[in-house]
Every structure is written in C-alpha cells, then in structure tokens.
Symmetry: C2
Subunit: 156 residues, 2 copies
C-alpha cells in the first residue's frame, strides 16, 4: 500500500516527482475505496450480529469498539461515490445504481441515517443492556443498511 | 456487502439461522479486512501528500478530515493481523512477514506509533500552517508507515 506513501514522503523530503492527485478522484479508485470501506464495515458488523443473536458471548468492550468503528467508517462512504462511478459505466465492478446520482439528496440522507444509527448503537452499547438497548439499536442500524441497499444497490 | 448484515437483521427480528462468528476470525477474512483498511488509508493519504507537495491546492478542512480518517483507520489495523495470516500460510495473497507474530510487541509498538503520528497530524492540521506544521507532521506519519513496511512487509 505505501509505495505511494513512501514516494509521498520522499517528495516531501527531497522534492522528487510525485503523481498529482486531482480534486475529482478517479472512478475506479473511488469504487475500490468505497468497497474497501464496506468490507471493513462488514468485518465489524459480523461479530456484533453474532453477539446480538447469542452465537458468541457478549463482550461489552468489544461490541462498543466495533460499533465505534462502524460509526467512523460510515462517515467515510459518501466521498467514494464520485460521479461516473455507477454500474452503467463500470458494469461487473460495482452494483451502484445510477439512481444514486439522480437522487443524490435522498442517497445522502440515507448515509446520514446510517451515520446516526451507528452513533446510536455506540451510545446503546455503553448501557451494557444487550436485550433491551443494544439489540434494537443494532436492528435499526441493519435497517439503515437495508433501506439504502434496497433502493440504490443492484443485487449481483 | 450487506447480504450478511441483512441476514443479521433478519436473525434479530425473526430468529432465522445466522452463521456463527468465531472469536478467532478466519485468516483469509482477516487479510481481506486489513488490506481494505490499508486501501482506505491510502485513499486519504494521497490527497494530503498532494497538498503537502503543492500538486493540488491546500484545503484546510479537507486535509483535517483526511487526517482524522487516517487516524480512525490506523486504530483498526491490528485486529486484522490474526495468527496464521502470514505470507507463509497465504503466499500470493499477503506480504505480511511471519516476523510480525514472532516479534508481536515490536509490531504493536509500530502500530501505536502510526496511531500517534496520525493523531499528531490531525492536531497539526488545525494550525492551518502547511509549511511549518503540517508538512513535518505528514513526513513523520509517512516515516511511521515506512518503518513498519521496511521491517514487516515483503515487497511484492
């Protein structure tokens, strides 16, 4: 990963050539970026789902940490949806429907809901009440995922 | 991504079957997870490098946001290095040397340095002083990346 980072460091220190990064990021990079963020979200969602379901033991610290990470990651998604990175232009790579950009305000709102529900799960997680607080907050968060996928993601 | 999330939600709501997540995460999932986090870090490092170098215009808010994201992501890396996910067991997939697990304390320390240096960059970024504060803090952060890669990552 840090080949470019190292180049960046060298550039800072010795002013060697460093590839310019345009303001508008490359669509393929953006797709890879947002898919990476989604994968990281999944990594943190899975053990929370398992705890809520009772498949693995509830660990309060671990659950809060996972919820915090999902919250941080959720705030990183939107910038990955650069114009021109829809499934029409990049079939086989992404399932992002063109409706995202046609109804950007609605998409942005769903992302805000994800951000808010993940924050709500962080708060709920600090109660230590798995059944009364955490489970419903986790269900709301899952609903925020589903609501956006149903509308804007093509099933592949 | 949220196929499993949706199943998780269903599991919460209707108690249908949901695959158990073991405490010890699967090595291949862990490799994919940590590589995703590294990719997301790179996405946020690139524009900061370009600003520091002067290839794109310095944008204070954007730089702080990228630094905050790198900081948040840096704290997510360590858990992706589960035992048995080294390049010996997973050649072609990862360049993580077995030395990571043989000298875990040293590796953990380098991850802490990354976390601290990214935090330092967040703080430096709020000064708005690109040349005097941000550039040196960015160089230190790049050095933290490089130091770990030199020691623990196989060049591929």
């Amino acid at each position: 990963m840090c080949k470019i980072l190292n180049l960046g460091l060298l550039a800072v220190l010795t002013a060697v050539a460093f590839p310019a990064v345009a303001d508008a990021r490359d669509a393929e990079d953006a797709i890879e970026y947002r898919q990476s963020v989604y994968k990281a979200i999944k990594w943190h969602m899975d053990p929370m789902a398992a705890m809520v379901k009772g498949d693995i033991e509830y660990d309060a610290i671990s659950l809060t940490r996972h919820a915090q990470n999902v919250h941080a990651l959720s705030g990183m998604l939107l910038e990955g949806f650069v114009p021109g990175s829809d499934m029409g232009a990049h079939a086989g790579t992404t399932g992002a429907r063109s409706e995202i950009w046609e109804r950007w305000g609605e998409f942005e709102e769903k992302m805000s809901t994800l951000n808010e529900q993940s924050q709500a799960l962080v708060i709920a997680s600090t109660s230590g009440d798995l059944r009364g607080n955490i489970r419903p907050a986790f269900a709301e968060l899952g609903q925020a995922c589903k609501s956006c996928h149903d509308e804007f993601r093509e099933r592949r």
